[in-house]
């Protein structure tokens, strides 16, 4: 490769250095060059009519993030980024995070004396000057200092006045695993060479090592789709409303899976779940039916269970005529007309020792008072959603709710 260095532009010198690295390591894949600088591809393209390199002209500053995606896909391909002011303006965040993570790429940060032919600055400590706006007002960005501080794998400085040294340094940076950065200048007074090195695993190498030990996916929830249900169930809307700490989210999950998996229906589950510590309102809507569910809200429930006074004030009376209504007489006063009284919270305390099982007691009531879900289906579903050691207690709560609701119904029939 011959050229007249005396007349060569800075661009040609730089690209020639990159091409020289390919000769220094002929077995290595040719690099992909990323830059936002518009005039670069012409230089490359005109040399041979076709680009000898793949070239991405990404948006200013974002080439670093683009290179991260490329690195994830192509573990071994050298990625060479040519950046100028974009590295210390809109690209700064990408710059510092790629360095922090040590993602394998080689950055050439061009000082303004390279890009604009400006007079070399005297601010050696800053390494880099920003060629516009108010250069005398602000302290100049110092990307090499930032990246040294963040322990980039390699930080160096090279000069276009020493093209062979430049190629040599780029080659070294490419060979360095991880994030390498070279400040490129035309200034002869600046120190040239490797300024700092740091040891840290390359990000995607570490990623692959870190994730290699992860368990292969177990056969995911195997099992065929159940046969279509023999019975036709019209849309049925169930709502359980109480407070955070009543275990309402778990109840909703157990109920919807009992209906969907074991009763062969379509189901949806949505809710607002308060936390136990805050004790705010908590609510779950489960809709089930033979046809896929459209609207997931139980605005006019067919089954309504009220666990707290606030819930009763808000939702009593919203149910469809003829709906199944359950309320906890220990919490709700007065009892809404037609409600089956079941001391749900008291039963939860009795069987689990805390109100957290109230949702499970409520499900027992639903099984006792409706045709939509069986106790067996709830039991099966429950076993899949609580830790083994808690299954027995939750089942007791479920069955207590079932028994109490049956007793309440019989009481109502006889009384």
């Amino acid at each position: 490769m011959t050229y007249d260095r005396h007349f060569a532009t800075n661009w040609q010198l730089l690209l020639d250095a990159i091409c020289t690295t390919m000769m220094l390591a002929p077995e290595r894949e040719p690099p992909i060059v990323l830059s936002s600088l518009a005039d670069l591809p012409y230089e490359v393209g005109q040399a041979s009519g076709r680009a000898p390199l793949s070239f991405i002209q990404g948006p200013p500053g974002r080439n670093i993030a683009l290179a991260i995606g490329l690195r994830a896909a192509l573990p071994a391909t050298p990625l060479v980024l040519i950046m100028s002011a974009d590295s210390v303006t809109l690209g700064t965040n990408h710059l510092i995070h790629a360095a922090r993570r040590n993602i394998g790429m080689t950055l050439l940060l061009l000082r303004s004396d390279v890009t604009a032919g400006a007079a070399p600055g005297s601010q050696d400590r800053m390494d880099w000057t920003q060629p516009y706006y108010q250069p005398d007002l602000e302290s100049a960005p110092a990307p090499l200092a930032w990246l040294t501080a963040l322990d980039a794998a390699l930080v160096g400085r090279a000069s276009l006045r020493d093209p062979d040294g430049l190629a040599e340094l780029i080659h070294t940076a490419i060979e360095t695993k991880g994030f390498g950065v070279l400040g490129v200048t035309t200034d002869a007074r600046l120190e040239i060479g490797i300024l700092s090195r740091s040891e840290w695993p390359e990000y995607f190498d570490a990623y692959r090592a870190w994730t290699a030990g992860l368990a292969a996916p177990a056969a995911r929830a195997a099992g065929a789709a159940p046969a279509r249900p023999a019975r036709r169930v019209p849309r049925c809307a169930l709502r359980i409303a109480g407070l955070g700490g009543h275990g309402i989210k778990l109840a909703g999950t157990v109920l919807s899976e009992a209906l969907g998996r074991h009763e062969g229906l379509w189901t949806t589950q949505r809710g607002e779940y308060g936390s136990a510590t805050r004790g705010g309102p908590s609510l779950v809507d489960v809709i089930a039916g033979s046809d896929p569910i459209t609207y997931p809200g139980a605005d006019q429930p067919d089954v309504l269970v009220l666990l707290s006074q606030a819930a009763a004030q808000r939702y009593a009376g919203s149910e469809r005529p003829g709906a199944v209504l359950v309320a906890d007489p220990g919490e709700v006063d007065p009892l809404p007309p037609g409600a089956a009284p079941v001391p749900i919270t008291a039963l939860a305390r009795e069987h689990v020792g805390a109100p957290i099982a109230a949702g499970m007691v409520a499900l027992g009531c639903v099984a006792a008072l409706t045709e939509i879900v069986s106790l067996t289906a709830l039991r099966l579903s429950l076993a899949g959603h609580v830790p083994q050691r808690l299954v027995a207690r939750n089942q007791a709560a479920l069955e207590a709710g079932y028994a109490a609701a049956q007793a309440a119904r019989e009481g109502a029939q006889h009384g």
């Binding site: 965040n93 510092i96 995070h97 108010q134 007002l137 302290s139 501080a149 963040l150 570490a206």
Partner: protein, 310 residues
């Protein structure tokens, strides 16, 4: 508006009520969250500096920390994610006489806002930034943050993080911040003093506060209790001042010396990785003769001074 008279005695809660918006309380923060302690420390620092509420602006970003500006009775600005330093820059340049305090979480300040933070430090305007570092994204549910330690479990790194965390101290030094201090919520008296000192000087002052997210990070990393997580900060940090380090060895201890350190979350060491993770707390660096550059934007004749004589 006149500044309040310096307090004659520590009527702390009185001060707090003076500087908070009671109608906004209780906060939306989880029980035991260190953010309230940090807000309390900032309010006290403002009080002890004798600053009038009207002369103070608090600018926050998005996240649990972003909510802080809603509770403080200053001129408050709750901005977009990561951009608080940029909003604060505009405000400071428009009203140089205001004391502008920026509060950000670790993800807010260092991840999405990393660029703005670096350039704010470089410009060295008279801003105070309090960065609350709890190693995790709280508001969105416990994802990896740029300060999650190697081995720390998060919802987007269930097997433990392998990423090198951001070294804010080194970055602040390299980017040219005038002042950098680190406190923990377990050392709130020191935190108040650091914020006071940050408020007192020109230039960009950064205070990093190690805080607790026991609800998400703690739960995933075997420290689900607020108190335990905070007390562990005593063992996980070391005073930057050697005199104070010696004094700390004296038997007068208000926190339980037996409290175990937070286990390093079954960290699998990576080859070539330093394992000393104890952070220094205290004032880490303060550049002498630090220059507040904000004046320059009005009188552009002044050449940049030598601000590097640290």
């Amino acid at each position: 508006m006149t500044a309040p008279a310096p307090p004659t005695q520590l009527q702390t809660s009185f001060i707090l009520r003076e500087y908070l918006r009671p109608q906004m309380l209780p906060s939306t923060w989880c029980p035991g969250c260190g953010l309230g302690i940090i807000l309390s420390s900032i309010a006290q620092a403002v009080h002890f500096r004798g600053l009038a509420k009207d002369q103070v602006a608090m600018v926050s970003g998005i996240g649990c920390t972003g909510r802080m500006s809603g509770y403080a009775d200053f001129n408050t600005l709750h901005t977009t994610h990561g951009r608080a330093p940029a909003f604060a820059t505009g405000l400071k340049l428009a009203r140089p006489e205001l004391t502008v305090i920026t509060v950000m979480g670790d993800g807010d300040a260092m991840s999405i806002g990393g660029n703005h933070l670096v350039h704010a430090m470089r410009r060295n305007l008279g801003l105070v930034a309090v960065v609350v570092n709890n190693s995790v994204y709280g508001l969105t549910g416990g994802q990896l943050s740029p300060t999650t330690p190697v081995g720390g479990h998060t919802t987007t790194a269930r097997a433990g993080s392998f990423e090198r965390p951001m070294n804010l101290e080194a970055l602040a030094r390299a980017a040219g911040a005038a002042f950098f201090a680190r406190a923990t919520v377990n050392h709130s008296f020191g935190l108040t003093k650091m914020v006071e000192r940050a408020l007192s000087g020109p230039g960009f002052a950064l205070v990093e506060v190690i805080s607790n997210c026991h609800v998400l990070y703690g739960k995933m990393n075997e420290t689900p209790e607020a108190a335990g997580m905070m007390m562990a900060m005593d063992a996980n940090t070391v005073r930057s001042n050697p005199t104070l380090q010696r004094r700390a060895r004296l038997p007068v201890r208000l926190t339980d010396a037996e409290t175990p350190a937070v286990p390093a979350a079954d960290a699998r060491p990576l080859a070539g990785v330093q394992t000393d993770t104890r952070l220094r707390r205290g004032v880490i660096f303060e550049r002498r003769g630090r220059v507040d550059y904000s004046g320059r934007y009005y009188a552009q004749s002044a050449p940049p001074g030598d601000d590097e004589a640290a």
